[in-house]
Symmetry: C2
Subunit: 418 residues, 2 copies
């Protein structure tokens, strides 16, 4: 069954080669308005430009006072303080000042007037006309939120690698930061190849191309910007023309189909003809998906096989790790989902030196691992119905003959898929 | 500490009342082009309009043959079949037919010609000029992918409630379905209230309003479409005008700040003055966030408190469940994240009949529950720095005095937050 011309490299080796090439210049940083930066990944540590709060402010509606003046206040010796001003929240507290024997009314969040260092909450004090009557001393800093007590100026606010979410936008803006350096989301063009394909549902004599919707969605969910192209016919001239044009305009080129060695598979040869590649990978040791190939100039061309489960497998192991890395995310799109026992023996009849990917479903208990089983969905690489039923993928390592029943395997989710 | 005028209803009661009102007409369904429907939730079961594949097709490049003709083939009795045609993938296989003693070359995926019922793979047979030589019989259906073997016409493809991802778009299109009924994403206007606020970083004498970025991001990540408004001053006339206008144009109105009973808190009274509400909720039994209030006409006005941790708490317990429900998602934005032991005693000095939300951080082992602890981040409801440090929230139930050290608690994530 081994096809000629394929070299079938180890996935780990291919990933490593691709990512080190990416490190040498493919990964770009740009400055973005913080308000447009959600879901981007921060490319540098960010430090606050401000104290938060920016000044000592009142924690409650109340009277700003000089604590020193209140030392002798007691029930036996009530002290009177004159309310010389009521400040509105729209005013700056520091435009006003108090002298001994005076207080100023301030609302919650208001900057303290000059000379004031404590707040007497409005509901805890008796008022008589323009005066308040204090029957106990007030400690310095009472009900004051101190300058910088939430975040200090120059404090590290967010680390490089943070995925920017709503709370980060909020705190960055609060910190006086309006632009941030982020990893550029790579522009990834998705080019299905095949004369039998169309993207027009009304062209009834052709097959509607739909793989690109799945691959584009995965690209978007893993940090890239996907651009879907109309299918390109199996014509060597057209393919090389379109690929060369794409190399001008996009960061990553992905082809779907036409990557094998059949009579109508031109992509590999046409891509290699453009110029001498910095890196080439002809096949990977993963099944399905073994036909997945890469040609790298300054930019990578990732060739995915055309049968849907193979397309996905190539995307999971080669395409998405590269895109995630370019976008600043951890490379693997996989995350551990649950463990379960294999329901019945899994035989590995062929391609033994290959990693094996199988779409699986959970049977039995969600909570009890002892009663949770993994059901391998029927495998034919052209089947798409399994994608609707799967809870995740199981990865069967290289060079084993079988997996016995009841052996425990980890089931992985794929970001954007399940 | 109990403020007058608040009724503080149980969160579960408020959620239940709101969702049953939503069920009575607020939740809308629309038809969408499948290609624009990712992340929407399917409002009805969907059945395939086609068999997939639509015809019997070849699984390999090979020769389409009538299996009956091959019965007597053996090494001793090799049979010759004439190759009468080579079909291209762009042609319809059923336009051609074979007679006994004939084969037609078909590429992988090609529809079988009439009378053919099996495929002899190209690499498994000897060819002599225009003939192939068969030395063994071929069984009916050999290397044929049968019509409907992936998905049958009228088969249930996707259930109501499915969140539409890339693989669903693909399979829907393959099934001949180009439009789907989905729950409309509610348009949610976010209106910060406060004369001290601005959305213009250059207005230095005012405070930059930033809560709305966090709340809008959460709305978007939980099924809604967020529309951020410039801050509205504390002016009863302006507030009622803006709220009434918003009721015309949006599905849900959210205000931030101005919801309490201070001198400058006008939102509750102004909202109630518009007309007689179908439902009103004045405060909820959650701390922080207790000031969160609701007035419902045909559309709901959700009033969130202004201090960030309170704003978030109101969003998590009241706003997001409503939005998720309207968008067709399971109402709770919470998901269980990990269990951990409380590091030191948690005292509940006040608001004992209230549920308590605390932002927490994991300390110790990721994998070993016995060595994993929960660290409660310092609580002041105006602090936003805790949002950067938290791994999730702990929810402390009503009516307890304290949580002893080493007691195990569940930490929850919030969709779109952490």
């Amino acid at each position: 069954m081994a096809l000629p011309y394929f070299k079938y490299e180890r996935v780990e080796d291919v990933q490593q080669k691709l990512l080190s090439s990416a490190r040498e210049g493919m990964r770009k940083v740009e400055m973005l308005d913080v308000r447009n930066a959600t879901e981007y990944v921060l490319a540098e540590d960010v430090h606050s430009k401000r104290d938060i709060p920016q000044n000592d402010i009142a924690h409650f509606d109340g009277y700003a006072i000089k604590s020193e003046d209140t030392k002798l206040a007691s029930f036996k010796n009530p002290l009177r303080f004159k309310i010389v001003k009521e400040i509105k929240l729209t005013e700056r507290g520091s435009s006003y000042e108090i002298s001994s024997g005076e207080v100023i009314y301030v609302p919650t969040g208001c900057e303290l007037p000059q000379n004031a260092d404590a707040i007497v909450p409005v509901e805890s004090v008796e008022r008589e006309g323009d005066y308040i009557i204090l029957t106990r001393p007030i400690v310095r800093g009472f009900h004051v939120i101190h300058k910088g007590s939430d975040i200090r100026k120059n404090e590290l606010v967010l680390r490089r690698g943070t995925i920017i979410l709503g709370q980060h936008v909020k705190v960055l803006l609060d910190s006086g930061i309006f632009e941030v350096p982020v990893y550029k989301r790579p522009k990834v063009v998705v080019m299905p190849i095949g004369s039998e394909l169309t993207n027009d549902p009304n062209e009834r004599h052709k097959k509607l191309e739909t793989h690109s919707y799945l691959i584009s969605h995965l690209i978007e969910k893993n940090g890239g910007i996907a651009i879907q192209r109309a299918p390109i016919p199996d014509d060597p001239g057209l393919i090389s023309e379109e690929v060369e044009e794409a190399l001008e305009n996009y960061d990553v080129i992905v082809t779907i189909g036409g990557a094998s060695i059949g009579k109508m598979d031109f992509t590999w040869n046409e891509a290699k003809r453009i110029r001498r590649p910095r890196l080439e990978v002809r096949g990977i040791r993963v099944h399905p998906g073994r036909v997945t190939s890469v040609v790298l100039f300054e930019k990578p061309i990732i060739m995915l096989p055309g049968l849907i489960q193979s397309t996905l497998s190539g995307a999971i192991f080669i395409l998405l790790p590269l895109i995630r890395f370019l976008a600043g995310l951890s490379p693997s799109p996989l995350y551990p989902k649950f463990m379960g026992k294999v329901k019945s023996v899994i035989n590995i009849p062929e391609y033994k030196p290959f990693k094996r990917v199988r779409f699986v479903r959970r049977i039995g208990s969600v909570n009890n691992e002892e009663e949770r089983f993994i059901d391998l969905l029927r495998y034919e690489s052209f089947h798409s119905s399994v994608l609707l039923k799967a809870d995740g993928i199981a990865i069967i390592p290289e060079n084993i003959d079988e997996i016995p029943p009841s052996k425990t395997l980890m089931v992985y989710g794929v970001h954007g898929l399940f």
